[in-house]
């Protein structure tokens, strides 16, 4: 027996109708009676308790997970307004557990990561554990902390793939779906065990520019000094702008020219978006930047971005040894959506061409991605990323 997946999507403005329609389609495509797990992704206006309640009650007592997104990606296209449901029918010998942690800011992210891992492990103690799929609130400030916490319990090189929920680029509120509820300030995950294969590809396509610099003082996600000077100075110099001007233009600068951390042995730099510029000249990033790291200013173009998408697709295929992929889950950085503008659809074209038109694809735009830096079975360590397209392929044994 093999894993079966059914995807349904609706753009009906009546949210309850949309949920019903998406489930109906997904059920029809799944063509199996037994449903083990559902993933739900939607644009932010669908995030209403009544919607997820309707989905949960329509599917019965099965775990439901998901998140909001700037747009929903499926084989059929990229939908700025819509709701997609993915239903799973799992073969024998595949088990999973699902869990949610609330109030992650108050608990701190490392502690929340640990709590999530503990909850996930509770149901899956004895079996060999493969991999965890992670969703998280998109507006947290130290996203690396969640991974650190998870790794504390699951193992330093345990493969994690996931993304941070997004909204309509207003950066006001992002939501997670979990069973019967919708949550902000939360993280959720699915821990998998058994006879499935997971392969991932993570690439961004940004290139280093200018001279290398050293992080001389930093703590977690706050960089105080670069080359012995206030961190913001680098950006002031490059853009010939004052702090005020930089702040005004920060969203654009952060997306188009992130900071890249050099990682020995890796082809690409690890990217970090700036969240804010502090008054003392420190820069707050979304993920951690270790003291002593070598960093460079990064620059991306549409072409390099799309080339990276192609590479990520190839990595997924390679890591699964060209097995038939039952489902491709895409976590695509919202930054790429902004950079690519009217060409955003080309990423989906590349994915469909690379994986084959009949491979089911589902995806969301994210405010940050989690993925191992080398292919999964290399025991690569998972990092927090910005600006990447992260593709997870699920295949049968």
């Amino acid at each position: 027996m093999a894993i079966s997946v059914g995807i349904g999507l609706s753009t009906d403005k009546d949210h309850l109708q949309a949920a019903k329609e998406a489930i109906r389609q997904a059920r029809a495509r799944l063509a199996k009676d037994k449903i083990d797990l559902a993933l739900v992704f939607s644009s932010v206006e669908f995030a209403h308790p009544a919607v997820i309640k309707a989905i949960h009650s329509a599917l019965g007592e099965i775990p439901v997970l998901g998140s909001t997104s700037l747009a929903v990606i499926t084989n059929e296209g990229i939908f700025k307004h819509g709701l997609a449901v993915v239903l799973f029918n799992l073969p024998k010998g595949v088990t999973f557990s699902a869990a949610l942690v609330k109030e992650i800011r108050a608990k701190t992210l490392p502690a929340s990561g640990e709590e999530l891992a503990v909850k996930l492990l509770r149901d899956i103690k004895d079996t060999y554990r493969d991999f965890a799929l992670i969703f998280c609130d998109g507006l947290i400030r130290d996203a690396s902390g969640l991974i650190t916490g998870l790794q504390e319990r699951l193992g330093k090189s345990f493969p994690l793939v996931g993304g941070l929920a997004s909204d309509d680029l207003s950066f006001k509120r992002t939501y997670l779906y979990f069973n019967q509820g919708i949550f902000t300030d939360a993280a959720a995950g699915v821990l998998w065990a058994g006879r499935l294969h997971f392969g991932s590809g993570v690439k961004h396509g940004w290139r280093p520019l200018g001279k290398p610099r050293h992080i001389t003082r930093s703590r977690e996600n706050i960089v105080q000094e670069i080359d012995g000077q206030p961190a913001v100075k680098v950006y002031e110099e490059y853009f010939a702008e004052t702090i005020e001007q930089l702040r005004k233009d920060l969203k654009r600068i952060s997306v188009f020219y992130p900071l890249g951390i050099y990682l020995a042995g890796e082809k690409e730099y690890l990217l970090r978006n700036i969240l804010s510029i502090e008054d003392d000249g420190s820069l707050a990033f979304q993920g951690d930047v270790a003291q002593g790291s070598l960093v460079r200013l990064m620059i991306g173009t549409k072409e390099s971005c799309l080339e990276a998408t192609y590479q990520a697709v190839q990595d997924v295929k390679r890591s699964l040894g060209n097995k038939k992929i039952s489902l491709a889950l895409v976590f695509d950085s919202a930054s790429r959506y902004i950079l690519l503008g009217r060409q955003a659809g080309r990423e989906l074209d590349i994915i469909r061409q690379g994986l084959g038109e009949d491979t089911p694809v589902i995806g969301i735009y994210t405010y940050g991605e989690e993925a191992p830096l080398r292919e999964l079975y290399y025991l690569g360590k998972t990092y927090f990323h910005n600006q990447t397209i992260t593709i997870l392929g699920i295949a049968d044994q």
């Binding site: 700025k80 307004h81 309509d168 200018g210 654009r252 600068i253 620059i299 009217r342």
Partner: protein, 505 residues
């Protein structure tokens, strides 16, 4: 111990020599190293210099790139705006109802223009108030706030319509009284309001706005929204025109329906009256026939001289009574036949007949009268048997009536010709004379009861005005048609059709 002293001196000397040599050697090594270090240092300086230069270049690249990105973004926005505008116009220009126009507008199109909030207002001159025709992106409570804000600033909004002016958060001057409150109430960061100005009927306003603090309204966007509002105005105008035309059409149809109903009722009434007339004629004719028979009987007895010889003038008057009663009997019979046919009470004996025989019988009967006026009476029927499916005696009456008329109205030495030919499954008979002809306006009427053409012959020769009416009834009872073609002074052709087979009946 001079040897020892010498030895010591020797050793010291040697040591000194070695020391000196070492110092000299070391100095030389240091000097070489120093040179290498100097070279390295200069290399590093060179590298650092080129790195710095490269970094300067990088700065230029970044600054150019960010400008390029901004331009690209604006361009994308403009292209997106134009696409959205095009889609908008396509959907609204084909809407035929006012409500449909607003229903068809899609929030997705609006988002492509960069706005997630919108509303359309129409001002009703009658009710002196704005009504919301469309809202996108507003929550229920907000809509309420928006509505009361508009009601509270009626003049401000009416002024925009009156001045036909587009207002936006950049073009509105800071002292525009409502600007700050407007952005607050509508819950937007930037906005554009443009008047909707159809030529007729209620005018209105289109409001679009965005909460995104990074979005800045450009003149280009102002233009796009103005065009959109114009198109809305145009669409409204079209829809209203269509509605008006449609309503007129509806009214017309209603009227036609009413008239039809009236006419149908009138027709029913006429039918009833006609029925009553037929009944009346039928019963009167019956009643007349009995006394008429006895009048005629007595007149015949008297005229035969069975009751003694009559004086000449009595005989003459009695003869007139006899003739007039004959005519009257004729008339009564015709009337009775007509009413019978009309009422469907006349039983026709439809059988296959040879038209040649019927025509021969009729012409035979009338040949004496024709001869008297030296009229050439001829027939030109196709050779062989010409079969028709008809009641023999009735069709004979038809021929006799028409030929007798022809003889009557044709001056001496004229011609009468009877011909026939087949059309589909009917036979058409044409009886042509060289008579005085029938005026155009009378041609239809001669087949009606009691109609007589006003001409000198008719004034002289007596007639009932029932002959052709009876003929028409007989032909129609055979599912045939009868008509006349005539020119005054040249003659007439009476044509009628008769079925060939039973199936045509």
């Amino acid at each position: 111990m001079p040897e020892l002293k010498f030895l010591m001196e020797y050793v010291i000397n040697i040591g000194g020599l070695i020391a000196v040599a070492t110092v000299v050697g070391l100095s030389m090594v240091v000097a070489t190293k120093m040179q290498a270090i100097k070279k390295l240092q200069s290399d590093i300086a060179d590298l650092k210099k080129s790195l710095d230069e490269m970094d300067e270049q990088a700065k230029l690249v970044v600054r150019t790139d960010i400008e390029l990105n901004k331009t690209q973004e604006e361009l994308d926005k403009k292209i997106g705006g134009l696409y959205a505008l095009q889609r908008f116009s396509r959907v609204i220009s084909t809407a035929l109802e006012e409500e449909q126009i607003f229903r068809r507008m899609d929030s997705n199109h609006l988002e492509d223009l960069g706005f997630e909030k919108a509303c359309a207002l129409l001002y009703s001159e009658g009710q002196k108030t704005f009504s919301l025709k469309l809202t996108f992106g507003f929550e229920a409570e907000q809509i309420h706030g928006v509505k009361s804000f508009i009601d509270g600033h009626l003049n401000f909004f009416l002024d925009l319509i009156r001045r036909e002016k587009t207002l936006s958060s950049i073009s509105a001057s800071i002292d525009t009284p409502a600007k700050d409150r407007l952005t607050h109430v509508f819950g937007v960061h930037s906005f554009i309001i443009s008047p909707i100005l159809p030529k007729e009927g209620d005018k209105g306003l289109l409001f679009v706005g965005t909460q995104n603090p990074d979005a800045f309204i450009t003149e280009g966007e102002e233009e796009v929204i103005t065009i959109l509002a114009n198109q809305l105005g145009q669409a409204l105008e079209n829809a209203r025109l269509f509605e008006k035309t449609w309503r007129q059409h509806q009214d017309l149809e209603k009227k036609v329906e009413e008239r039809t109903r009236e006419l149908t009722a009138a027709l029913e009434e006429v039918k009833k009256i006609s029925q009553r007339k037929t009944d009346f004629i039928s019963s009167v004719s019956h009643e007349l026939r009995t006394p008429l028979t006895s009048i005629k009987g007595y007149a015949s007895i008297l005229l035969a001289g069975k009751l003694g010889q009559l004086p000449k003038d009595v005989y003459e008057r009695l003869d007139k009574i006899n003739r007039h009663s004959d005519e009257l009997a004729h008339m009564v019979n015709d009337l009775l036949d007509i009413s019978r046919i009309e009422a469907g009470r006349m039983t026709m004996k439809f059988e296959e007949q040879n038209l040649n025989h019927i025509v021969a019988a009729a012409t035979d009967l009338l040949s004496v009268q024709a001869k008297e006026k030296q009229i050439e009476l001829s027939t030109g029927l196709p050779a062989g048997a010409n079969a028709v499916f008809a009641d023999k005696s009735q069709i004979e009456r038809v021929f006799i009536n028409i030929i007798a008329n022809a003889v009557k109205f044709t001056p001496p030495k004229g011609k009468i010709k009877i011909i026939s030919h087949k059309t589909d499954n009917m036979v058409q008979v044409d009886i042509t004379d060289t008579g005085c002809g029938i005026p155009q306006e009378a041609q239809e009427l001669i087949f009606e009861e009691f109609y007589r053409v006003d001409n000198p012959i008719n004034q002289e020769v007596k007639g009932t005005g029932l002959g052709l009416a009876l003929v028409r009834h007989i032909i129609e009872a055979h599912k045939g048609k009868i008509w006349v073609k005539s020119k005054v002074g040249q003659g007439s052709t009476f044509s009628f059709t008769l079925p060939i087979e039973r199936a045509a009946l």
